[in-house]
Amino acid sequence: MALNPAKVGAVYPTYRYEVAREKIREYATALGESDPRYTAEGDDCVAPPTFVAAFTITRGALDLFADPELGAHPALVHGSQRFVWHGRPLRPGDVLACTPRIASITARGRNEFLVIELDCVHEGSGEPALTAETTIVFLGSAPQDGAGEAAA
């Protein structure tokens, strides 16, 4: 079943994420990072840039994929990813408010491309923290009754 092009522009509920020191350490260790600030015990602790994957990619897609009107299915791969970091690196204790939005749904060949835009701001201050743009490729579900784009 193809994705529903009427869902382009849909905004999903904002969720919270609280940055924890031990989670930063775990993430940095998984990447073999050596910057001592990633494992620091004090106020100088910061997160590596792609630490944000821990609360954007999978978490950001959960509510979308649970939406029965979208038509998501399990045959998918992560096609591309963009992060824009605004301001300072994340620190333990930061609380973020993240809002997912469907930016586009397009078809190419037999596959469909779902682009999810996620804006995360610091809770309280509203200061921008990061923007994530995730492209998920749904394999084999593109409508085959014509050529080209399912939606824009």
Binding site: K23, A30, P48, P49, T50, A53, R59, Q81, E133
Partner: protein
């Protein structure tokens, strides 16, 4: 530290394995069994076996960028495409070349390549020069 057009960043080379994949799954919260379960991967993987998370390759790319930019605060933007799968057991090298510098910000073309020349990642970054 100062970056100029044509500069080549210190590359990051890493062999993927079940251990790196399980560690990245736990750290990132992406538990898709495609990345560590040989039986599941045998049914759905394009390579017939487990493959590394795309985000693991992006993470290693950002490790290279942060080292060149003086820390994570120097990494402003990174956009990548996961062009081919990275089979567990294969060794990949992530590299970057500065293609422009303007107003203290360097544009870096980044790539990830297996030893057989397969390009698993391509992209562009903006980092503090």
């Amino acid at each position: 530290m100062s970056l100029a057009v044509g500069d080549v960043l210190d590359p990051v080379t890493q062999q993927s394995s079940l251990v790196t994949s399980v560690m990245y799954a736990a750290a990132s919260g992406d538990y898709n069994p495609l990345h560590y379960d040989p039986e599941f991967a045998g049914q759905v993987s394009p390579t017939g076996g487990p493959i590394a998370h795309g985000m693991y390759s992006m993470g290693l790319t950002s490790r290279m960028l942060a080292a060149a930019a003086g820390g994570p605060e120097g990494v402003l933007e990174l956009q990548v495409r996961f062009s081919k799968p990275w089979p567990l057991g294969a060794t990949a090298t992530f590299s970057g070349t500065v293609t422009a510098v303007e107003d203290g910000v360097a544009t870096v073309e980044v790539g990830g390549e297996l030893e057989d020349g397969t390009r698993i990642l391509t992209g562009t970054a903006r980092i503090r020069a």
